[in-house]
Symmetry: C2
Subunit: 506 residues, 2 copies
């Protein structure tokens, strides 16, 4: 590290090692950590804490465990390290780490899967207990003690306000030119509050820095470490087909006067398919788009570069190594086209409704009536969590859900008679897109939805069997509003659990 990034004299006195800082976290503490989609999470203290827990537990006696609350998903150095040593009793609100997931599904970690827009308010309201300590990555501390946020904002504003004590990691690997890209709003801690005066993704309503009372800061740790920066897979044929269908659908909506030609602000989920959709949009006819979303992915940088996208508002980056290089090499270009906000503002129901977000999110499975499962494998095992998809799908203008029609090489149909868990109800799911086409569910009764979903979206290998279920359900003696055969509705999942495939034995 060439030059200090810690300009506050009081806080300079609190510099210590990660190991020393980790000693300041108590057993059973509620710990808020920064981090959202592998960006801006603390990278040294959690590793040191995991090591401390490992040693503690090797001695026997009462195990050392914490409650871990973050913005969203983090990385191996945080969720991975702490889950490996079984150091997390209670995890809120989103994760995507394999070790963490295994602990959750083994019944060894209590996981509360929450809407990302709700977490800050629930914490401030005291609904889940008092936060004892927060560990927050920043990229610099200003002379007055205010903080320059890192590559994600997430719940940091809330954690700094709500925690009794704060540990800061100052990461000199992050580009200092991030300074000024953030917009931290201090008007919504608890209701009732004033209207959030934001009506366009480019609006700035807050401050560039995180306020932080110096007397709560008990440790400052200097780091020089990169974010997770997972690589994206190049879009495969299925992703490209899905992207093409979305493009066609949006064009049709513009032609019919149901969307303005610059669309409405786009929200895009995270991952390879979402990134492929963004790449597709970048090659489409649209110009001057805006985005009001959670995460800036590689595809969004390309859209900004090409002029397809004018402005992107988010709470975090989630870039590949190539994407990060592009961003850092051209940060002067990107600086005034990207705004990073706290997640209770990036995902705010008030703003999703007012701006009329077009939400595009993935799923695990949906059923023939349009109920969506975003979280559970075969009804019982947690994958990642609902994340922000509910914030946007429920309150936005259009909710588009995208998925390949099958998974596990065809052994799983993404479209099933009845979903094994519901995260987005029939009331909130408007458009379904698979590589086979689009089902537009707007204004359709459940039986009409079933026909549209099976015919337009299901994989041909499963279409006949889905239609057979639907036909038999219609003749099964139950009500005809949402026909089901109760004894058979989850049989596809059960068959998969028993045989490894949803397909019936030949």
């Amino acid at each position: 590290m060439s030059e200090t990034r810690i300009h506050c004299p009081i806080l300079r006195e609190r510099i210590m090692t990660a190991e020393q800082a980790a000693e300041l976290i108590s057993n059973n503490a509620i710990v808020g950590m920064s981090g959202f989609t592998g960006a801006g999470y603390p990278k040294a203290v959690p590793v040191a804490l995991a090591e401390r827990i490992r040693k503690h537990n090797a001695l026997g006696g009462e195990p050392f465990r914490i409650s871990l609350w973050t913005g969203a998903s983090t990385a191996p150095e945080l969720d991975g390290a702490l889950a490996e040593v079984n150091g997390v009793e209670h995890r809120i609100p989103f994760q995507s780490d394999p070790h963490c997931r295994n602990r959750i599904n083994a019944g060894e970690m209590d996981y509360v899967d929450m809407h990302l827009s709700d977490v800050a308010q629930f914490t401030a309201a005291g609904f889940m207990g008092k936060m004892n300590i927060a560990v927050i990555e920043v990229i610099g501390i200003r002379e007055d003690g205010s903080l320059i946020p890192s590559s994600s904002v997430g719940n940091n504003k809330a954690w700094i306000e709500q925690a009794d004590k704060i540990i800061l990691e100052v990461n000199s690997m992050q580009n200092l030119k991030l300074e000024g890209m953030h917009d931290i709003y201090y008007g919504t801690t608890l209701p009732p509050h004033a209207p959030v005066m934001l009506s366009h993704p480019a609006d700035r309503i807050g401050e560039k820095y995180l306020q932080c009372p110096a007397d709560k800061v008990i440790a400052v740790v200097e780091t020089h470490l990169t974010d997770r920066n997972s690589a994206f897979k190049a879009p495969d044929a299925v992703s490209v087909q899905i992207a093409d269908h979305i493009l066609e659908f949006l064009k049709k909506e513009v032609d019919a006067g149901r969307l303005p030609k610059e669309l409405l602000p786009i929200q895009s989920g995270v991952g390879n398919i979402a990134n492929a959709v963004l790449e597709g949009l970048n090659e489409g006819p649209f110009k001057n788009l805006t985005s009001y979303t959670e995460v800036i992915q590689d595809g969004m940088l390309k859209m900004l570069k090409s002029g397809t996208l004018d402005i992107a508002s988010a709470t975090a980056f989630s870039l590949s190594p190539d994407g990060l290089k592009e961003f850092n090499d051209n940060i002067d270009f990107y600086r005034d086209k990207i705004i990073l906000r706290q997640q209770d503002i990036s995902n705010h129901p008030e703003l999703a409704r007012r701006m009329g977000i077009i939400g595009m999110n993935g799923l695990i499975e949906l059923d023939i009536y349009g109920n969506v499962n975003s979280t559970h494998i075969m009804g019982t095992r947690m994958m990642n969590g609902i994340g922000g998809s509910g914030d946007f799908a429920r309150n936005g203008y259009l909710s588009i859900f995208v998925t390949p029609s099958v998974a596990k090489g065809g052994a799983i149909s993404s479209i099933v008679p009845m979903v094994s868990h519901v995260d987005h109800t029939e009331h909130d799911v408007k458009i379904i897109v698979t590589e086979y086409g689009v089902a537009d569910l707007r204004g359709l009764s459940p039986r009409k939805r079933a026909i549209a979903i099976i015919n337009n979206c299901a994989h041909p290998d499963y279409r006949e069997e889905l239609m057979d279920y639907f036909d038999r359900a219609c003749n099964g003696g139950g009500g005809l509003h949402t026909p089901h055969l109760l004894g058979e509705a989850l049989s596809w999942h059960q068959r998969y659990e028993e045989t490894g495939s949803m397909k019936p034995a030949k």
Copy 2:
């Protein structure tokens, strides 16, 4: 009718009979009608239309059917009459009429069960087709052609804007002193729009009258008929116990500093239990409460009278005959304590979040993990619809769901292993109250929720069996995040369908 309520000269020329007006509605038309919870619905034209349809269909040939979109539920003279003659092809967004329900569950009427806050925007967006004609009850027409709204506002602002033609029913039975109690806001037709500058239930942001272009009005029909005005049952022992538990819960929240002493604005579902809860609140220690809700029931009048409640904002009345007499006898007292708004404002996600609504709604069944079914009997048969419960539960500060622990004399447990349909996901359900107690699900993982729900809320007759399911699910080999036995999860419903009881045969 002593004196005319139609002061606009042009519109006086369009006065005709209900039968003549009904002739102006075409076969296959999309028809918007006023009406919300049995208040403010047209009372003459739908009856005349039903008679016209009956005669038409008696001749054979292509049946006469319409799409019927309302605010919410109406009455026998509207949903009942039109459903009886099978004159409704497509029904949006809520109903509670027995004839209508039977048509839906027989597969004879397409029903789209929507969030009530979404309907106006979806219509304006053109997502469900173009509205041909609207039939709206008002209580007077002013000289400039603007309309004095009736005992409900519902979607009337949207229907008048979106329909090509308008039929007005001017009902002289409604108290003319309703004039001035309404607040019609013209800023939210389509996104993006400006912030809705409403931060307190008492705030007025709009106009007292409905704007209406006179050239769209093709008929004016004079009526002198009462609203549905269903009587409430006196609170039974179970309702009183539920109300007591809610009161205790709210007191505890205030004591813990999680709610201010005047609480936050209350939303209350409609019906006997909701009314009992309001009566309970009225006898509790709270003063200066506010309400931001859909419907003004009798219990709310009592709360206003006693000073427990300072202000009530809603989109409709739903009073008993006694309640209506009390209201009319004391309308000068109630006039400035009640504001009626269109339903996209009364139920607006932006406002529910900002003001921090405490939502209290009933349900049909919930499962041990906190998923709520508000709409479907045994997974297939529609009861009424989700109504506004999703608007408030999803975006408010606290979502409280209330239910007696059993139904059908004990043959149905309101708490089941897995719900047969989901309207409110585990992410949106915070507090469960039955006559046995309260399950506070905030911050709990699914397995912890199961224990709280079974122990605190389930009926003793079903507790052991629920716990047995949960225990076996935990040992069943699936994931332990949300343990389920897929082959058995809906078996309680199936048993009920087969035997008339969820209880196993002895």
